[in-house]
Symmetry: C2
Subunit: 475 residues, 2 copies
């Protein structure tokens, strides 16, 4: 009932908007938000860390339109397709907002016949999901994707993707984390040896994917009850999906009498062994967990899959660290580009997507808690006046500073009070004030005041730019 | 007929997409495009210049969602409203893609009760217009907006907006340009004294706005024929809109027997005089032309309006420089925020929007013509091997370099040929190669090769990072 009332109220409010100018609802669409200058400052820090890492690994950058032809997205996301935003048919092509950056990337490769590229793409994607904004789940959100496309020797690009996740999460200092890895081939092999019919691989895989949110008993009853799997097969799966470990587990499963007989599983396990060798050389194997319960939702993965989770640190007394949610994920998708190519030519791809919104939520909460003061501008100096009737002089001086590349502001008042000008610096964190007064003008100097210490020095006008630069240069 | 055939073919292609996987049209939606790494490199240069300028003037940055409630955009754009993209009604709120960044900004101010801010916003906006992509007109395009909101002394923020346009166009070195200014109050006053009825101000203003694309005779016949203005009134307007000049023209019009009697015109001319004084102090009055034919399309302007045009330079023999189109525009809109505020409280605003797509087209053509080689990555060094079986050593070394913050790449092959590795550097502009070989490993050194000069030196492993930094540091 409450829901229905809310709906009716919303409808009423919308109708009201048509009646009178000032009656509409003043809000952003459901599941979206504005970013304030302070939030933007945090967002830019995070983006910088991520872009720096992507560039360190030699990635180029591309961009694609926010919408695609509807048919470009059709048949790529399985059950999730219902979450795609469509545009209204206003004549012409049928369009949809992009759901991720991976499908547009594959379309871009096929369209431009590119068989070899390492690129990143940072942009917003759109999902008509149930938003949970406090936990960083939105209908409009950023993805930061890094992908390597091309025919290469096994597991070298895959290992680099994991290295990148490790670098970014370490760099952002989000606390302890774990990167779970698995392989779709191992999963499929496991399903086969457990007695899952081929036709049920996908749907049973979806059930396994829920293990991070549901206990095994519930997942099992979904498999048996809803999806008609035999209880014996489910129990056999139940044994495997409990397993997680490192290289030792890979070795053990390579000896597993059932799995080792399955071609797909054997291939996957062999590559997993290689992956762990490379991760050891990268010095990051300690943070990687080979986890047979990791399944990933999307249809298009064909090989290695992975997901990074932050570990809760508050509960130190809990034995097993509890994960607070995924902050990065990805995997290998060797078939997607071929779906777009007129001749079905394949371009093997592997990539990672950083879930920026959750990271951003964590950092925002941390900033709130620490009461750290975040500057939202870079202004070096405020051009101020000590007396009235000096607007012209302020305009002349600030123009000189701008032209010399100094970041400068002034109050947009003809005759501002000095106190108000100093207060503005306190409020916004501007470190210096360049004060013009009648005496200073006569003497050919400007009074430079350091806001923090209240120290004041007269600086000759021709040395002012140099002096400001020196006093505001980052160490 | 050709149009109809094209439509049918498109429909057929779309239908085909549903039949077989590989039959759909491989393209981006009409009026949109992808950005390749090379285009992104140029785009980032332009953005950097613009953002640097906005930050130099102390602007904060915000972001808003790509779509707004449909009603938020309703009634803000006059006739252009038909160009708004609506989203399909999939249940819930009715949404539209943003048409510009100004209306979302005003909505943001009203929603958060902000009465005072200087912010920039760089984002894509959407218009279902007829695209002319070679001339930089798209359906999805970037706007770079800088706005100052707040109650201030007259023309100080307005002058700063013009200073910003001047700085950005100078900095980007696009050739000679002119910034036309006018004032909606002067236009309205002029219409009044010419005998235009109040009810026709807006529509006659739209006609005047076409003067940059149409000769006066056509505009006149539109006014008289389509819009029912008296020929006498049209002819009086015709005399005024020919006028353009500097402070001298402002002074002359202040003496104009008819205009000087009109309250609105007098206010506008008084402020225009003040504006020219401030622009003179900023040293940019020479590039500013007070132009009575400038009208600007959008409904929401209330005071100063302006538009920057690039001047064609090829035709040096032509007496009057010909404009090749607008690259920036803006003005004062003191009523827009009040349309969103429940109590109609006004927040005066003035702002400028840089038309990045046209600038980008010009720079892209220039790069093509000059055959300048643009690097699309920042990679400092390629980690290479001289012999086979050194993959592990390459992985170890590249990991050390990444961890030290060096931008490094390697080929994803187990045993790449040295020649191929060197060729990759030539192709992508990587300046250095760090070569590991058996002898180097024994000696604890790495062979560092400078790609341009082919010079090779052995560097001790522990000094490698420092050596790479030194050799690739920007002067």
């Amino acid at each position: 009932i409450a829901k229905e009332v809310a709906k009716l109220l919303e409808m009423k409010a919308q109708l009201g908007g048509d009646e009178g100018k000032h009656k509409f609802v003043l809000k952003t669409p459901k599941g979206t938000r504005d970013y304030s200058p302070k939030q933007m400052a945090i967002r830019e820090r995070v983006f910088n860390a991520i872009i720096t890492c992507f560039k360190r690994h030699g990635a180029e950058v591309i961009d694609t339109p926010v919408f695609e032809l509807k048919e470009t997205l059709t048949g790529k996301y399985g059950e999730d397709s219902k979450l795609i935003y469509d545009l209204k048919d206003q004549g012409g092509e049928l369009l949809s907002l992009r759901y991720d950056l991976t499908v547009p990337f594959a379309r871009y490769l096929a369209m431009n016949k590119i068989t070899n590229i390492k690129r990143y793409h940072i942009a917003k994607v759109y999902r008509r999901d149930n938003p949970a904004m406090t936990r960083g789940r939105y209908r409009e959100f950023y993805q930061c994707d890094f992908d390597i496309a091309g025919q290469f020797d096994p597991m070298i690009p895959d290992a680099e993707c994991l290295k990148i996740v490790h670098e970014i999460l370490s760099d952002l200092q989000l606390g302890d984390f774990l990167i779970k890895v698995n392989d779709r081939r191992i999963l499929d092999g496991m399903f086969a040896v457990c007695g899952v019919p081929d036709s049920k691989f996908r749907t049973i895989c979806s059930s396994v994917d829920k293990l991070d949110k549901m206990p095994w008993e519930e997942v099992r009853s979904e498999m048996v009850g809803e999806k008609g799997l035999s209880p014996e097969a489910a129990d056999r799966i139940g044994e495997y999906v409990q397993l997680h470990g490192g290289l030792d587990l890979v070795e053990r499963l390579l000896q597993d009498p059932k799995l080792s007989q399955n071609k797909l599983a054997k291939e996957g396990l062999g590559d997993m062994k290689l992956l762990f060798e490379y991760l050891t050389l990268f010095g990051i194997a300690g943070k990687i967990s080979f986890d047979l319960s990791l399944a990933r939702g999307l249809d298009y993965y064909t090989g290695v899959i992975f997901e990074a989770v932050l570990l809760q640190q508050e509960n130190d007394h809990v034995e097993e660290p509890v994960s607070v949610g995924s902050v990065a994920g990805g995997g290998r998708y060797d078939g997607l580009v071929g779906m777009f190519d007129p001749k079905g030519r394949k371009v093997p791809c592997v990539g990672v997507s950083i879930g920026i919104e959750r990271i951003f939520s964590i950092l925002e909460q941390r900033v709130e808690a620490s009461e750290e003061k975040i500057r939202t501008t870079d202004t070096q100096v405020l051009v101020a006046s000590a007396q009235k009737k000096l607007l012209e002089e302020r305009l002349k001086l600030i123009s000189e500073l701008w032209d010399a590349g100094i970041k400068a502001e002034m109050l947009y008042k003809k005759n501002p009070k000095l106190l108000n000008q100093l207060q503005y610096c306190e409020d916004t964190g501007i470190p210096l004030v360049a004060i013009v007064g009648e005496q200073e003008l006569k003497d050919g100097v400007v009074k430079l005041r350091v806001v923090a210490t209240r120290e004041e020095v007269n600086v000759r006008r021709e040395s002012l730019v140099e002096e400001i630069r020196m006093r505001t240069s980052q160490p």
